[in-house]
Symmetry: C2
């Protein structure tokens, strides 16, 4: 397994815990030593294990929490840090996610998650003033 495969496997484990509402699995996949961060869709950023894990407990305890499928996941490696960009497919639409991982004790663990709605797939056209 390459490092890139290992990061993508950790990313999929994050989504498995999310979709199966596995709060213990969600806790395991987050970094233990590094400061953790999280920006849920529409939210202000959260930082620190207490705030981030409380947000996940709230989300996963919600019986209406959506199932989430991850696709188009690509891992980018920067030494002991990796960034996965992927799309999240929910019943309500598609989100673009940034998931940042850090290597701790030989394992890739997530230390930041930021997801936001995808509203367009077209590049914006360059607009010029006619004056």
């Amino acid at each position: 397994m390459t490092e890139s495969d290992a990061v993508r496997a950790a990313n999929l484990e994050f989504y498995r815990a999310f979709t199966t509402r596995d709060i213990k699995g969600m806790d395991r996949i987050w970094a233990r030593n590094a400061m953790i961060l999280c920006t849920h869709p529409g939210w202000v950023p959260l930082s620190g294990r207490a705030a981030v894990m409380a947000s996940w407990r709230n989300i996963l305890a919600n019986p209406d929490a959506p199932a989430v499928m991850c696709h188009d996941d690509i891992a980018f490696l920067y030494g002991e840090i990796a960034v996965v960009l992927c799309e999240e497919e929910l019943s309500g639409g598609h989100l673009a996610a940034t998931n940042v991982f850090i290597k701790e004790d030989g394992d890739w663990r997530i230390m930041h998650h930021h997801a936001s709605p995808i509203l367009t797939r077209a590049l914006p056209q360059r607009r010029r003033s006619v004056n």
Copy 2:
């Protein structure tokens, strides 16, 4: 100047280039050696210097491009990588931003930007089934 101050200064230089539509300054602040990534609000993720810088040329060439003010910026250091979480204030609303920096040749340069609308400042309430 601490490392944290240096990262926040690089972050402010990113917003200065954005608000003054300084495409050369914007080009300078992005990493040159590391793979760069960018998820604009509502967009799918972009990767690679060609795609990311083309998106910025389009945005900064737009005479209707908004001025952006950054506030509540906090830098988190992870060795040669740093993450800044901040809010962006635009005429149309507020965004939550994740800006990831990498140290190259002694300078902190941005290698990922992800911004998304803030829709709520309240934590979601835990909802339970009544059954």
